[in-house]
Amino acid sequence: MSPPSHPGSGRRTPWRSPLRGPWLTSVFGLLLLVGIPVLFVTGLLSYAAYNPDLSPVNDKTPDKGLLGFYLFSWPTNPSWLYRVTQGVHVTLGIVLIPVLLAKLWSVVPKLFERPPVRSLAHGLERLSLLALVGGGLFVFATGVLNVQLNYIFPGSFYPLHFYGSWVFMAAFVVHAVLRFPRMVRSLKGRDLRAELRTPVSRTTPEPPDETGLVSPDPAPPTISRRGALGMVGAGSAALLVVTAGQSIGGPLRETALLAPHNREPGRGPNGFQINKTAAAVGITARDMGADWRLVLRGGDRELTLTRQEVLRLPQHGAALPIACVEGWSTPDQRWEGVRLADLAALVGLGERAPGVLVESLQQHGSFRTVALRDNQVRDPRSLLALKVNGAELSPDHGYPARIIVPNAPGVQNTKWVTRLSFGETE
C-alpha cells in the first residue's frame, strides 16, 4: 500500500499513525460529548445532595457564588436516587478514561502544529484548549485519586473537584460549540458500519484536510479503525467490569476486582460496607459505653437520654441503602430505631418538625457535624437507628446510635450521634 500523495507528503513527522483523522477524532468526541455532560450533571446533583445552602457545615465550597445557582432542597424520594446518580458519576467517569485518552491521542499532532499561533483567534482557542486538557485531566485525576483515599492533590477534594469541573466545563462547552459542525461533517464523511467491516488490510488513511490530524507521512496500518475502536471499547469494558460491582452490591460486589469497596468487611447483620471505622476516627470503647448520652435540644428545651431510654421510645423500621460520594454503595439494609420526627416532638417541635443539626462523638474529620433539612427530618423513614438487620449496631456502623436518612449522601448519615439540635443549622 502506498501512502497517498498530497501537499507535505513525505514530510517527517513523529505522528505517523494512518488511523488519525477527523472521523476517528469525531467518534471519540461524540462519545465524550454524551458522557461528560452526564458526569457534570450527576456531579452537580451530588453537590446539591449535601444541602450546602442549608448550613455552612454542609458546604465545602462556601464561596461558590453564582455556581450554586441551581441548588434545591434535596428530596428523600426515591431513597435510591443518590445511589444511582453517584454510582453513575464515579463508574462512568472511570469508564470514560480510555475514551478521553484516545481522544487526546487522536489530536496530539495539533499540540505541535506550526506556527504555534496563527492569529489572535487561534491563540485564544489554544489557551482555551489548555484549560480543556489540563482542567479535564485534573478533574479526572482528583476523582480517581479521591475514591482510592489517595489525597495527594494540593488541597481539599471538594473545592478542587467542584471548581475544577467548572473550569473544565467552561472550556468543554466552547470547544463543543466551536467543533460541533466539523464533528458532524466528519462523522457524515464516513460510514460507521462500513468502517466496522474494514479489516487492517484495507485500512487507508483519511483524506488529507485542513484539520491537521491526518498524518502527512502515514506508516502502513497495523490495526484497523474497528480494531482501534474495539481496543478502546475493551478498555472501557474492562474498567466497567472491575469497578461497577462496588456500586451494585450483592454477589456482584466481588466482581469489582480492583475497586476499593469490592468485598464485605465481615459477615452477619453488620457485615456491610464501612466508610470510616471507629478506630479510624478515634472513637473508643469508653465513648460508646454506659456513659453515652443522647442530648436533644429544641429551642430552649433540652433533654438527655440514656440508651435504655432511647430504646424505650417507639421503634420503627426502614429499609435504606448507604451510598457514598466515592461511588460505592450498599443495597437496602433493614434499620430500626426512633423516628427523627418523634425525637423532635420530645422537645416540643412535633408539629411541622424543623431541620436538625446532628453532632457526632467523632473528634476530628469532615462532616462530624451535619445539618439535615426539615423534609429529611419529617420523612417517616428517617431514623436515629439503634439496630440494623436485626442486630445491635456494630461500633464501626455507629454504635450506640446513628442517623439514617433516605437518599442522603452516606457521610450525612452520621455515626456515633451524641446531640440532635432541632431548629438549628450551625
Binding site: 489540563g134 475493551a234 476499593p260 464501612i274 479510624a280
Partner: protein
C-alpha cells in the same frame, strides 16, 4: 465589509471571539475560587497534568508501540496480540495504581476495614490472564491458518475477528 475586516484582524468570526470570551469569563469566575488556597500547587497540577500526559505519557506509550512494531519489519500478525493485553493491563494500572501499589495502605485499611493486600496480586493475575488469552487466540489463529493452508498473504488483524 467591516465583518471581513474583523475576520482579517482577528482570524475568525466575531461569534468565535464572543464564545471564547464567555468561556474565559466563567473560567476566571471558577478559577479564582479554585486557586484560593495553594494556588501555585493547584496551577502546577493543572498545567502539570497536561504536560505529563502530552509530553511524557503519550510519547512514552507511542515509543513503546513503535518499538513493538519495529521488532519485525513488516506488520506482524502477532502485534495486536501484544498491543491489546498490554493496553488493557496498563489502563487498569493507570486508574487503580494507588490501590495496586498500596499507596494509602494504612488509611485504606483503617477506613474501610478491608485488607489492602489483594490489589497487586489481582492486577498481576488479570494481566497474566489477558496475555495468556491473547496468546491462546494467536495460537488458534495460526493453527487454523495452517490447517486450512490459507492462501491469503495477510490474515486479518487479531483484535478484529
Amino acid at each position: 465589509m467591516r465583518r471581513f475586516g474583523f475576520r482579517r484582524g482577528y482570524g475568525d468570526s466575531p461569534w468565535h471571539l464572543l464564545a471564547l470570551l464567555c468561556s474565559f469569563a466563567l473560567t476566571a469566575y471558577a478559577g479564582v475560587r479554585l486557586l484560593d488556597g495553594d494556588w501555585l500547587g493547584i496551577l502546577l497540577w493543572i498545567v502539570g497534568a497536561a504536560i505529563l500526559h502530552d509530553l511524557v505519557l503519550l510519547p512514552l506509550y507511542a515509543l513503546a508501540d513503535r518499538a513493538l512494531s519495529a521488532a519485525q519489519p513488516a506488520p506482524a500478525s502477532w502485534i495486536n496480540h501484544v498491543r491489546v493485553p498490554a493496553f488493557l493491563s496498563g489502563l487498569l494500572l493507570l486508574v487503580w495504581f494507588p490501590l495496586i501499589f498500596g499507596e494509602q495502605k494504612r488509611r485504606y485499611e483503617r477506613s474501610t476495614g478491608l485488607s489492602a493486600d489483594v490489589f497487586l496480586g489481582r492486577w498481576l493475575l488479570i494481566s497474566a490472564a489477558l496475555f495468556a488469552a491473547s496468546a491462546l487466540w494467536l495460537g488458534l489463529r495460526l493453527w487454523r491458518a495452517r490447517a486450512g493452508r490459507a492462501p491469503r498473504p495477510s490474515p486479518p488483524a487479531p483484535s478484529e475477528s
